[in-house]
Amino acid sequence: MVEPIQIEGLHFSYGKEEVLRGIDLHLKNGEVLGVLGPNGSGKSTLMSVICGIRKNWSGKISVMGDNLRDLSTKKLARIVSYIPQSFEPSFDLKVETIVSFGRNPHLKGLGNMTNEDYRIIEESMRLTEVYEFRDRPFSTLSGGEKQRVIIAKALAQEGKILLMDEFTTHLDPGHARRVGKIATDLVRAKGLSAIAIFHDINQAVEISDRLLFINNGRALASGKVWDIVTPEIISLVYGLKSRIMENPISGLPLVVFYD
């Protein structure tokens, strides 16, 4: 079976500043790949290349077996759904309208929605528990509610690959856990594959099947959590001393930083 995403030697520059300097990445079927790295390491740029926002990259990227360059914007949007860090429309839009954006790449002809589209939108809103406030303006929602709406949008998009860019960073621990769980449960239930960028290494460990560390536009290391979360790698990536213990509740690695 073809790997959902294969990237080899990806380079990207903003003007003269090279942000990605030869990244290799493989996303396997049905896994959540957590991407970690310090601020400015190129994580978000990497993600924006994969979802088609930035174009003038070089290297090889294949998405579901197709060369990324050969995929139209619309076709790519049918495969890859994206959950950004935050989302701020300029005008007051209803929750349901934002969820319906996910159906856009599937519309045919003059772009009218069918009953099937409405059914998918409703189902997505129920799964993320936003159905009750579907008629409310998005701007009146709390941070956690907003992110659930964006997840519903990504779900309605029905892409096989989900990209999540620090999608719980602006939330308090309670909401971050809840929203994170909703997203990962959906990835498992729907058999999706996902790349998720994390700010918090311990959250990444809990949610991801595999981790990839990026620094300075290069992929440093990747692997299963117990294999890769070591004081050496963490010091290399973040320049911090750390001790790794076993989380008494989850049995996963727990990273504690010190100077």
């Binding site: 619309k74 949007a77 994206y82 950004p84 701020e88 839009l93 949008k153």
Partner: protein, 330 residues
């Protein structure tokens, strides 16, 4: 539900309002007389004045108001900017330069270029000029767009002044180009405007969903299959044609495209299915009302219609500039 009722009220008000406002003027008509003229039961000078002067003027006002409002709404959504409007971002000034240039060439060098086409060419040019000047690293800050529009407008308005004074040695015709007037409206203008205004409406009806997606962010739009550059070009192109035809017919009329979409957003929401038809209706009705004031307030002298729309539009602009929609981004 409430919105549907509101829309029905607006539609009724537009039709009745148009008939009612057309009754005022140097000759007054009763609604009964107007009705008789319209169904062809009345003849004579009064009826022929209504059919050949007042009625085409009424329709031209409605069409232009409608076209500018729908165009402004399209610009605001795709540029994610509540202050965008054909007048403010300099498209109308570009169109007026093109129109005056065609007159100038005819007058000075006997070169005959179509006024609407030349107006369109410069409208499109000025839209991209403003857009390019204001773009900063993939974003268009709200106030930068407005400032760039002001500068582009100044440039083209100054060029218009030069051409007018050079060719005709007076500044009287300038008033028409800088403040607009519907006093010369004819049936030919109605026939010229109708297909253009309806075409814009049709195109924007088809891409409305995409424009709303753009209002939620350009980068995000890519991830749900929208091509922002293509959509922006389509919107600039369409709005430029409408502005060109409107300006060639009636000169510069500002603020319609700013005020109306804002009011409709408050009443219906940006994402409502009724947003577009309501914008078209209220825009048309608004310009009919403004033109009625322009015709009758100091009759028989006419006020330039752009002065009337600016009197309403400038306060709304100030209000918007200080509102939360803009404060986020400035």
């Amino acid at each position: 539900m409430k919105r549907t009722v509101l829309f029905v009220l607006l539609s009724t008000a537009s039709i009745l309002g148009m008939l009612w406002f057309s009754s005022f003027g140097t000759i007054s008509y009763s609604l009964g007389e107007i009705f008789e003229i319209l169904i062809g039961k009345s003849s004579g000078t009064a009826s022929s004045i209504y059919l050949n002067l007042r009625l085409p003027r009424l329709l031209v006002a409605f069409l232009i108001g409608s076209g500018l409002a729908v165009g402004g709404n399209g610009l605001q959504l795709t540029l994610k900017n509540p202050l965008a409007d054909p007048y403010i971002i300099g498209i109308s000034a570009g169109a007026s330069f093109g129109a005056v240039l065609s007159l100038f060439l005819r007058e000075v060098s006997r070169v005959d270029l179509n006024m609407n086409s030349l107006a369109f060419a410069f409208a499109l040019f000025s839209s991209f000029l403003t857009y390019t000047i204001s773009r900063r690293g993939g974003r268009i800050p709200i106030t930068t767009l407005v400032l760039s529009g002001v500068i582009v407008s100044f440039l083209f308005n100054a060029a218009v002044t030069f051409l007018v004074v050079f060719a005709w040695r007076n500044v009287i015709t300038l008033h028409f180009w800088s403040l607009g007037s519907l006093s010369g409206a004819t049936w030919n203008d109605v026939f010229k405007l109708t297909p253009v205004i309806f075409a814009q409406y049709g195109i924007f009806a088809v891409v409305h969903r995409k424009m709303v997606i753009m209002a939620a962010g350009e980068e995000h739009a890519v991830t749900v299959g929208v091509r922002p550059e293509l959509l922006k070009f389509l919107v600039f192109f369409t709005v430029s044609i409408v502005s060109a035809v409107a300006v060639s017919t009636a000169g510069l009329i500002g603020f319609v495209g700013l005020v109306i979409p804002h009011m409709i957003r408050l009443a219906f929401g940006a994402d409502s299915k009724l947003n577009l038809p309501a914008t078209a209706l209220l825009g048309g009705l608004f310009l009919v009302i403004c033109d009625t004031f322009a015709r009758t307030l100091f009759q028989p002298t006419e006020l330039p219609i752009g002065a009337v729309t600016a009197l309403v539009g400038a306060p709304v602009f100030i209000f918007l500039l200080r509102s939360k929609e803009v404060a986020k981004d400035g």
